[in-house]
């Protein structure tokens, strides 16, 4: 199984917790969404809000129960609860 480096985007509360708005992360190219979220929460200090987070892969929401096939350079956005409107 290969390993890829992906870009990570942070917004709102998670941007404040992580202290950055963009980062990179190295992960197995095939990974279940919820596992990826666990690893990201651990690494970027988001454990306190982990259960409220969603992920988007290249600007589309992903189902955390599904297996992802990530490519080098893919962009994962960590989406805290939204409040637009």
């Amino acid at each position: 199984m290969s390993v890829v480096r992906i870009g990570i985007l942070f917004f709102a509360k998670t941007r404040e917790l992580a202290g950055i708005s963009r980062g990179t992360f190295t992960v197995n190219s095939v990974v279940i969404g919820s596992d990826l979220l666990n690893q990201l929460s651990q690494f970027f200090g988001l454990n306190s809000v982990r259960d409220s987070l969603m992920l988007a892969l290249n600007e589309r929401y992903i189902n955390l129960n599904e297996e992802l096939s990530l490519c080098e350079g893919d962009e994962i956005a960590i989406i805290p609860p939204i409040s637009g409107g």
Partner: protein
């Protein structure tokens, strides 16, 4: 036509929206305007700020347009404008508007689009209260 925009520190002009909606075959426009409120649970809001995942927010807004056009095929023009950055109290943070030949499609599609926007477009609002230095990131209720 679909008109989608994120405005940075710029007021939403309702006259512009009305002229975007206008269509000779349309008898009805419905416009929803979301405005910033001055209180939350008895706390006085002194500042409000929005941020977005811009590119994805515009994508999701376009997806909402496609969906409502499927449900209400007679819709003519759709406008979804959301303001970002600081929004003064009482000013519009979002406008969602549709024109259609008849009133029911216009009203129903706007109501649906507002709910969709609030549940899936990646935009976040922080409220800063009087006497509380740290702001609060809000969460839309279902």
């Amino acid at each position: 036509m679909d008109y989608l925009k994120l405005l940075n520190n710029e007021k939403i002009n309702i006259l512009d929206i009305q002229s975007l909606l206008s269509n000779e075959s349309c008898g009805a426009s419905a416009i929803f305007v979301g405005t910033t409120r001055d209180t939350f649970e008895d706390k006085k809001v002194i500042l409000l700020e929005y941020e977005a995942y811009d590119s994805m927010a515009l994508n999701e807004m376009a997806n909402i347009c496609s969906e409502i056009r499927l449900r209400w095929p007679s819709l003519k023009n759709i406008v979804i404008y959301h303001r970002l950055g600081a929004v003064p109290i009482c000013e519009a943070s979002v406008v969602i508007a549709c024109s259609a030949p008849h009133r029911q499609e216009a009203l129903d599609s706007v109501g649906y689009a507002v709910n969709q926007l609030k549940s899936r477009v990646p935009i976040w609002k922080k409220e800063i209260y009087e006497n509380e230095p740290i702001g609060t990131w809000k969460i839309n209720k279902e």
